[in-house]
């Protein structure tokens, strides 16, 4: 059983690294495109993931930059979330898992997930409102369609973090029991 758990643990670390690299590339690509849209607007029709926001760029710079900022912030937060997860997986000691470091890291992860959920929700509602004024933003929907799932996940992870903190207290007390 212990051998199987180690194998699963290593598998999780590898998957987390792969996802982190993918999200970093996405965030990096979006950031570079953001810079290009400021200094070289002719590249706006050929953004990352073949996004064409040239019509939005022409109609309103304010809407373009605000929506793109949402997309960028969400992408960066997702990459940071997986970085925090990798840090947790690398520092977790399966022999003594209830450490204050792990408890703090899980709490931080729940904050990141909540931030992504809230930001996605705000972005989705903003996009919905802006679309009422005639702007076409449906191409950006994939970036914030799962906001409620993130908020739910944040609540679950926060509950786990709370239980983990209690586990740390119990383990510390156990360490000082002779």
């Amino acid at each position: 059983m212990a051998h199987k758990n180690t194998f699963v643990f290593i598998g999780l670390q590898i998957i987390a690294w792969i996802i982190f690299v993918g999200l970093s590339i996405e965030a990096g690509g979006l950031l570079v495109n953001f810079a290009f849209s400021i200094f070289k607007p002719e590249f706006v029709p050929n953004l990352y993931q073949k996004l064409d926001l040239s019509a939005l760029y022409q109609s309103s710079l304010w809407v373009f930059y605000s929506m793109y900022s949402f997309v960028l912030m969400i992408a960066v937060l997702k990459a940071l979330l997986f970085y925090k997860l990798i840090q947790l997986l690398m520092k977790l000691d399966t022999a003594k898992p209830f450490s204050s470091l792990a408890a703090r890291q899980i709490t931080r992860i729940s904050y990141f997930i909540f931030s992504i959920g809230i930001l996605s929700y705000i972005a989705r509602q903003s996009a919905k409102n802006i679309m009422h004024h005639g702007y076409e933003l449906s191409v950006l929907n994939p970036f914030w369609e799962d906001s409620q799932a993130y908020i739910l996940m944040a609540a679950v992870v926060y509950a786990i973090a709370t239980i983990f903190s209690r586990g740390v207290e119990i383990q510390n007390e156990n360490d000082l029991t002779v």
């Binding site: 007390e173 000082l176 029991t177 002779v178």
Partner: protein
């Protein structure tokens, strides 16, 4: 903490070192040190029994209650 551990007093009376006691009660030096310096949060009955047997004493010889008022 109101519970005082007088382990060093009993060890001096029985002329026993920490190493000797640790071997007799099968407890590590670090755990005994935690107990001796008053940092322990709890003690198991099995440990207390082993210490009392090794030092030929009663639990009351090792553990003392000193309330907050007495400390002040």
């Amino acid at each position: 903490m109101p519970i005082i551990v007088n382990l060093d007093v009993m060890m001096a009376k029985r002329k026993m070192s920490l190493n000797e006691l640790s071997e007799k009660v099968d407890l590590t030096l670090s755990n005994l040190s935690i107990l001796k310096t008053g940092k322990a949060k709890a003690i198991r009955f099995s440990t207390l029994e082993a210490i009392c047997r090794a030092l030929d004493c009663q639990p009351g010889d090792i553990l003392e209650y000193r309330g907050e008022k007495e400390n002040n």
